[in-house]
Symmetry: D2
Subunit: 381 residues, 4 copies
């Protein structure tokens, strides 16, 4: 059975950036359809959003609580299969918890929760619920990121010695949160964002990308965070040293005040046999360097790829795939896993981020903030 | 009313490249849903394809004739709104004609028909039918292509003097059509492809991109085509000189034996005040050069864009959009036009390629083939 | 004996662009010293230029005739070994002829002469004189160009099928020759430049680069030249189709009105096994593509190079070499050849352009002009 | 008077990398001639090297002491004007000291001395001697680096908030110092290199480039150095956090075990109004980003440059200049300064690195090593 999975959404009302991204990403591969939503804080707004999305009026709910309870009451062949949670961070845990407790699977935006405590609690909840949980660290859905991971896992780079990750943006160079910019407003508000600003918004992506590609985790971190925007309380910039579990060393640089940078997420990994480099803004190439051979550049669906990378491409080589396609890969892999389970099949190692990645991301935020508070003292995750 | 438009598809069965592209592109923006199809040459295969797409069994038809007639018999609120035709070239005209004659709008892959005669006949048919017709010259859907067009139209480049377009691929470097490669087989078969090989498959894209950006048309052409693959009868390579309607000069280079090239469509336009350059494989930047200022590089949703370019972006700057998104823009603009008409509204200049572009593309093919047959004599379109 | 060779210069007075380039290029490798010159059309100016160059007052001559005769009268261990001719085109042949006839070797800027007749006459003269003659097609001095040539010669690309060369500049986008721009004035003057404008100035470089890398020559050409600058008589733009001696096809595009382009010389070569791409403005990488392997990018002194490329680099990998270094390689190879001869040694195939390349360049100009005059008719060289 | 300046060299015998670089760089602009040298540790080798350079046999000395004393005894119009010191670090101070004390100006390779104590002593010596001293931090000689510096100084970027510098090489990825690699041998030997390995060899370049462009200095540093090569005692890798004198934050990453990297020196500077980015391996462009304008890319001799950048270019836009040319700019500016002094003229702010930069570089090394020894504690310079 390959029926489309039915998705309900929490958050993502008209004008939301990330809600629309989730909807597009979920739809690209034809495996998922949006059937209901609690898109906004009021029923009125939620209904307006749902109407614009051609949803059934009866399934545009005024709150996530209402949505979960009413959907649960629907016939199995009608009700939503899973909830996609695309709200600000402080609203990740409550709907996730309630959805799981009422038998729904969950796809949730990152960082996983507002606090580390919530993340750990959620880990238990997921385990006991037996439901699936996907965390949309979307950049790992790129074909070239899969290739990078496969090359490292295959030993082609030898032992990893050095790692550099950066995630640089400039959109908070001025204090846009004081203007009518909702995206900036909640991200700079600790009540909605948590103890990390840029750390949570983009730092967790950087940490996740590095761990996904290298298979290594950060053992300890020394952080120097910055808060450059006048009146801000959360970090909008950070420079960090890291030591990995295998002895490799490296650095992470994040910023939302790197003026003019758009979405410059990039990684370099250096091993004893080879090295690699990937840039999110130019995602369709993976640059590799070798001891005795010239630089080799891989492309999606191009020559010399591992199956993990080939599986991701939707179109022939030379036809660029971007942000939405990578995001869609998270949804596709989640959908395949859920469909397999629905059909009584088993997927051994489903390839999408989940709660472990979420907890690790929160530990990263907390360790960086703690290190910074201690003037950069090395702090273990 | 913003209901989703209902799409029926001709061609694009399981394993097809372009059928899947059309489906994904049509779905991204949530304006269109696939409701039926005649996906293959046999009812059995068509039903299998439709099933894999979660379609209603009753709406998987064995032929396009059956689809058109049976859909026409359905209630208005159920039947398809338009037909998407994604078959090889020789199967563009018959279903388009029948669809139009039975009251359906059409989206069709390029080149528009097998022959120039068909194209001209179709132009009449469309006119008399009053139905909409979109031709998927997808590359014009890129944000940076819109920006390029707007800059030229706005006079920022001054008078255009020189144009260079290239579309280079390498996938026919070896005679893969003799192996089990369906894509190669029909494209190298004049009965299915027409009198142009690479000319029709990629040359028409090059011609269309140039005309779209510059607002100029080719006045005459001198072509030197090549057929390098052993046993081939159609061109797999071509070098062409062009003279534009305004006196500008230029060249077009196309190839499917440019070994190692993936999908290297690129254009350079030089004016008396400024110049521009765009590369499809790196679509998220537009390079411009100026008499007295440094090189400026535009990015989707970045600084300094015209509304035409801003309107196209779905996500913030730095989040790359690619082939599918540009393709989707054709569908989106078509859907907006059709919805406007359904609602009694008017869109003055809908922004998607149609039959005029299709006829021009056929004239381009025919003039190039004629010039080549006359050893490169200048030939007017 | 590795004494420095003594160079006399014709042309290249203060303010000259190319004279200074020759002097710097000749000096980099420490094999050549400038000892005398007839730098300008008057003795006064010539002396002023020589003085600024710290030359002996007695060896700053008022004319090339004076220089050749007086230097010839000097003792062998003092007098110049060779003459470097860096004048406009119409002043290439007379001093070259006189230098050869008086026993001096010659290095000459390109194109080799004002007319094809002169070039053929010069070919005879050189042969009968037994003197060396180097033509400064400087771009072939790049390490990555040597690598490209070696790869083709070694059969790594298989049979060459398609070639693209372009040389695009924008500095004549406006009619700067009517302002106080000496460089533009003589280049747009047929009495000084010959029958080719951009053709001679940059077209010959494009032709030479292609022939050097591929080992192929142009069999016939179809040219569409442009003269866009108001009041100009020579071409400032050209689009050309070419057919090579081995059946390969291709195109050449040149321009000096490609606004904003600086010195964009680039080549692509496609074979049956592999392909390559090189850009003069980014000379320190050679991009190659392959049937079954990922794209490989070579760098000077990097991995995987042929000896011909390794020999050229002066500094370790990653330390960019540019225009002057490539130019210097022509002088270095010329100096090594001359030193070998002086020492009674033999160099089998000295690697610098000479009169054959010069004659071929003139034939290229003449064929292109003739084809253009015949509205693009195919014209053999 | 514009006579050529006479240079004597200490170190740089046959087979040396950097000696040849200095000689080529000194010669390019025709302002300097090599007249003597103590090229090697034995008279025999030194004479052989000098002979290969066409030097007078009598001026090939067996030691720097001999050279300085004998040159001093020569007539003023013959003897060398200055000494270029191109030995390993431990041999910088002794010849510099003796040269200064005997009335010779000095050009010296970096880092300035073996120890910080020597650097401070040298600072006094230079002051008291009244002689000129140039330190070859060659990368500041690039046109685009001058442009970057001028833009920052001119306030175009606003207040600098964030700085990233990296200098990545891979040539010590394996323990080549145990093979017959002289360059590696002395650089990994603390007796010859000092307390810094990569820190001294490339870290000081990174520090200098940053200070030159931004006009800011490092206030304190937190360093995590690595020694990955088996048996090595000095750092071959380092990740550092920095805090600048104006409150800006940033990071420095250096490595000689970043496998496959050639000479990847790069810098990013983010201000409140604009940002810039420069890469040494692609030195002929400067990328800038702005609050409200598209990305602008500057090129040498291109549009929009400050005089400081224009002054540096030797050839028209589009003709790439590289490592040697930038290096030559240091020599050129030094030569102009010395010539001015010789002629009784004054240059207010000569533009080449000197002892202040040298002392700062040594403080950088010492602070980084101290911080690393204290597990990354913030350490002031």
């Amino acid at each position: 059975m390959t029926r489309k999975l039915r998705m309900g959404m929490v958050g993502g009302g008209t004008g939301s950036f990330i809600g629309d991204v989730h909807r597009k990403a979920a739809s690209i591969d034809g495996r998922i359809e949006l059937v209901c939503g609690a898109f906004s804080s009021t029923a009125e707004k939620s209904i307006a959003s749902g109407k614009a999305l051609n949803l059934d009026h009866n399934r545009c709910y005024g709150s996530f609580e209402e949505m979960i309870l009413k959907e649960k009451a629907l016939p199995e062949e009608v009700r939503m299969d899973f909830v996609a949670i695309v709200t600000p961070n402080h609203m990740h845990f409550p709907p996730t918890k309630m959805a799981l407790e009422n038998g729904f699977h969950v796809v949730c935006d990152k960082p996983v929760t507002l606090t580390l405590e919530e993340a750990i609690a959620l880990q238990e909840l997921i385990k006991s619920s037996g439901k699936l949980f996907a965390l949309t660290h979307n950049y790992t859905g790129n074909s070239m990121v899969k290739q990078a991971r496969a090359m490292v896992a295959n030993g082609e780079l030898g032992t990893i010695r050095k790692v550099q990750v950066q995630y640089l943006q400039g959109w908070l160079s001025t204090t846009v949160e004081t203007t009518d910019n909702k995206q900036a407003a909640w991200r700079t508000d600790p009540k909605k964002s948590g103890i990390g600003g840029a750390l949570g918004d983009i730092g967790t992506h950087a940490e996740n990308l590095m761990a996904y590609i290298t298979g290594l985790e950060i053992h300890e971190i020394a952080a120097d965070l910055g808060t450059f925007g006048a009146g801000r309380v959360l970090d909008d910039d950070g420079n960090m040293l890291i030591r990995m579990t295998n002895g490799a060393k490296g650095s992470i640089s994040i910023s939302q005040i790197a003026l003019g940078e758009e979405n410059n997420l990039a990684i370099k990994v250096y091993g004893t046999k080879g090295s690699l480099e990937w840039h999110q803004e130019n995602p369709n190439e993976l640059i590799t360097r070798w001891l005795d051979e010239p630089k080799k550049v891989y492309t999606p669906n191009g020559n010399g790829l591992h199956p993990e990378a080939l599986n991701v491409s939707r179109i022939p080589a030379g036809h660029p795939e971007g942000y939405l396609e990578a995001f869609a890969t998270i949804y596709k892999n989640f959908a395949e896993h859920l469909t397999a389970i629905n059909n009584g099949n088993i997927i051994e190692k489903p390839d999408y981020p989940s709660i472990e990645e979420g907890v690790r991301g929160m530990k990263f935020i907390y360790a960086a903030v703690k290190s910074d508070a201690n003037n950069g003292t090395w702090t273990t995750l």
